[in-house]
């Protein structure tokens, strides 16, 4: 289908195929096959009309009229005319992608945190609470939960580090599940309505913006902690900030690929 230019006369067959293309739902293969079938049908009908003595434009108009509305070919209400459903699907895909990547980034931050732990120890990852903000009962609970520690502060740090790593691992697993759901649903929802409900690259751009914002906030907090507390407790923010940078870069690469794919050849 070639784009109409001011020099191109109206072609009812091409116009019909254009309308059919944006109305058809189904997998890309189903859309291509139906388009090919209908185009062959229309060309046959035009040839038959011309053979019967009609002019080319008359034969084209007759072929299109006999084919009927494009909704007759699709056999159902097109997804494009149900923007609510298509939009809901696209928003669900966007949420699954951004949410999944976000949770996975927290999981990656847990990996960074483990690396920092081996180099700099618990106190770099998380700062102890100020004296007077916890009770003897808290100390007893921390010591009981961390039998290898011998003071309330070291037990508190081990407890908090353990909590952070556990939560990061859980977030990472949740992110993987969300991304698996995203990939599955994206494969299933290949209809044009869903694919065109939002501009190409919307999810990737939003994800990149959110990840970049998270990176700025976390890295800013890490720098502030380094300056104010001489690094004590800065590890969590460094880990999260680094993971957010990774997520932002990944989203930007995905955005570039999505925009290239959507750009006309």
């Amino acid at each position: 289908m070639s784009p109409r230019t001011p020099d191109t006369p109206a072609d009812p067959v091409e116009d019909y195929l254009d309308r059919l293309f944006v109305t058809l739902s189904g997998s890309p293969r189903q859309v291509r096959h139906t388009l090919a079938e209908v185009e062959a049908h229309l060309r046959d009908a035009v040839a038959e009309g011309v053979a019967a003595g009609l002019t080319e434009p008359e034969a084209q108009a007759q072929a299109v009229a006999r084919m009927g509305p494009v909704q007759g070919v699709t056999g159902r209400r097109p997804a494009l005319t149900r923007p609510s459903l298509a939009l809901v699907r696209r928003l669900a895909l966007t949420a699954a992608l951004i949410g999944g990547a976000g949770f996975l980034a927290v999981g990656v931050a847990g990996v960074f945190a483990r690396l920092l732990l081996t180099v700099k120890g618990n106190e770099f990852l998380t700062a102890p609470w100020p004296a007077g903000t916890y009770t003897r009962a808290d100390c007893a609970r921390w010591l009981a939960g961390n039998p290898g520690t011998h003071s309330c502060v070291t037990a508190m740090l081990a407890d908090h580090v353990g909590d952070f790593l556990l939560q990061a691992t859980a977030a990472g697993l949740l992110g993987l599940i969300a991304l698996a759901a995203y990939l599955t649903l994206r494969q299933r929802w290949q209809d044009r309505g869903t694919l065109t409900a939002l501009p190409a690259g919307t999810a990737e751009a939003l994800g990149a913006a959110l990840a970049a914002l998270a990176a700025v906030v976390c890295l800013g907090q890490a720098v502030n902690t380094e300056m104010v507390q001489h690094g004590v407790g800065a590890g969590e923010a460094w880990s999260l900030g680094a993971a957010a940078v990774v997520a932002a870069v990944a989203f930007m690469l995905a955005l570039r690929r999505a925009l290239r794919r959507a750009a006309p050849a």
Binding site: V38, A40, H41, D44, P69, G72, G75
Partner: protein, 121 residues
């Protein structure tokens, strides 16, 4: 004939048309029109969802071939399609015969023409 009335019997008609031999969508429409002496006129595009539905149901199979220099999807009846055609033809014969008896007119024949040996109007 009104296309709404025809749509209720489109599957049976398509199976019957294709029982005479494989064909692409335009051929199917042409055969349907010719064999009904032009009585069956419906928007031609409506035949495609019906063909696709019958293929999904396993009653038809299709393959892409080049015919007259054009790439076309050729449909043919499957064994399951032949069985379904025989059953539906039988049901139609019984139904139309009953209606004919009520109306006092000669029994209607099977749609188009009997497709399989042993299937009579």
């Amino acid at each position: 004939m009104r296309s709404e009335r025809l749509k209720g019997h489109l599957d049976l008609l398509l199976l019957s048309v294709l029982s005479r031999g494989p064909g692409h969508g335009y051929e199917v429409i042409t055969r349907l029109r010719d064999r009904s002496d032009g009585a069956f006129e419906l928007p031609e595009g409506t035949v495609y969802p019906a063909l696709h539905r019958l293929e999904e149901a396993g009653l038809l199979a299709s393959a892409w071939n080049i015919v007259s220099g054009r790439r076309r999807r050729i449909y043919r009846l499957t064994l399951a399609g032949e069985t379904a055609l025989a059953e539906q033809s039988q049901q139609w014969s019984e139904f139309s015969g009953s209606v004919g008896r009520v109306l006092g007119t000669p029994a209607a024949v099977s749609p188009l023409r009997p497709a399989l040996p042993g299937v009579t109007a």
